[in-house]
Symmetry: C2
Subunit: 211 residues, 2 copies
């Protein structure tokens, strides 16, 4: 099973690494990080580079497509090389997926028209402008399109997809090996739960995430 | 605040990226991925490379040290270059931390003698052989030594440390921005919760993790 995780400048690293660490443990996973050009691709903080092992043009028929988000997403919204690749990959994919603002790229490519989808909480409403129907769920499955909420939600999406593809037993094995028994020291992981002043602050500054 | 995350061949990517995504969002974070040599370092699956931007010798006085684990840890247990670096860095660090089997490297460097610590559930007992006192908690703080359980627990450790260093408000902001509101589709993330046959299988095959 060919899995392609897309990288672009200023992506958010955990968006990509959550699905990598889960989907990459499918029994027959052949996972590849891809980007417009091969080589290191810097994340949003500038402090981490992941290597793209193949160019988009070298892997056009993945079974699973994963598109992360991050502040660099907005610069990609009119990148026809990437959008064309997404459309092409989608014609043969079994699953087309995203984490965080990666769903805006799927939507910009025209792949989420009329579909239920999600994104980072700050970007969820923006999905509407591109024809999708945003929902408040953490992982949204609509046909073969699977979108996840912000950053860390890619782990939940990855495990969900591992269960669907390889069965509950395998997904539980992956959860056990990655010791995914989350115990956050705070309960502030969604706008409904976080202190209101933080939610307001980030809504006011949402360019921080979206540009 | 200088944060050094150590890479070595066949590390587990999420072990490193969880703390990166949280600690890297400290107000004055100057985060650097380090390894014996600069350049790409391959993770345990062989499918992902993270770039080490500095050699260990170029960054010897971090404020925060983060040591991930992974199958490659065992090959490092007698790597005196790495162990010496850990001992040196520890003389000036404010926090010396690990995720997963990274704690075995801290222990091998003699830094966890008599201290409470944790590791991946399959490696927890091995900590005893190196003088530490293993506990079943997900994040263990003993003085300036902070050790986390397997793989995904580095996110919880990172948030805990962000709260201690920068305050609850900042940690909650990081949790909200990374939308860390975990909703795993299964409840199998610890040996106490997972199906017994999986726990037994991995205990029998524990070389998979530890070598």
């Amino acid at each position: 099973m060919k899995i392609a995780i897309v990288l672009f400048a200023r992506f958010t690293a955990l968006d990509a690494v959550g699905p990598y660490e889960t989907l990459g443990r499918l029994p027959d996973a052949e996972l590849t990080f891809v980007a417009e050009r091969t080589g290191p691709v810097r994340s949003d903080t500038g402090r981490l580079a992941l290597t793209a092992d193949k160019a988009l043009s070298e892997l056009t028929d993945p079974d699973v497509v994963v598109v992360p988000g991050g502040p660099g997403q907005s610069a990609q919204m009119e990148n026809e090389v990437l959008l064309d690749w997404l459309r092409t990959a989608d014609t043969t994919s079994t699953w087309t997926t995203s984490v965080c603002t990666g769903s805006l790229l799927l939507a910009a490519a025209g792949l989420l028209d009329g579909r239920r989808a999600t994104s980072h909480w700050l970007a969820r409403d923006t999905l509407k402008q591109f024809g999708a129907e945003p929902t408040g769920e953490r992982v949204v499955v609509d046909g073969k399109y699977v979108t996840a909420a912000g950053v860390s939600s890619g782990i939940d999406m990855g495990l969900t997809l591992v269960g669907t593809i390889a069965g509950d037993d395998h997904a539980q094995a992956v959860q056990l090996l990655t010791e995914y028994d989350p115990q956050p020291p705070y309960d502030a992981g969604s706008p409904e739960k976080a202190p209101a002043h933080l939610v307001e602050k980030f809504r006011a500054e949402s360019r921080f995430i979206l540009e």
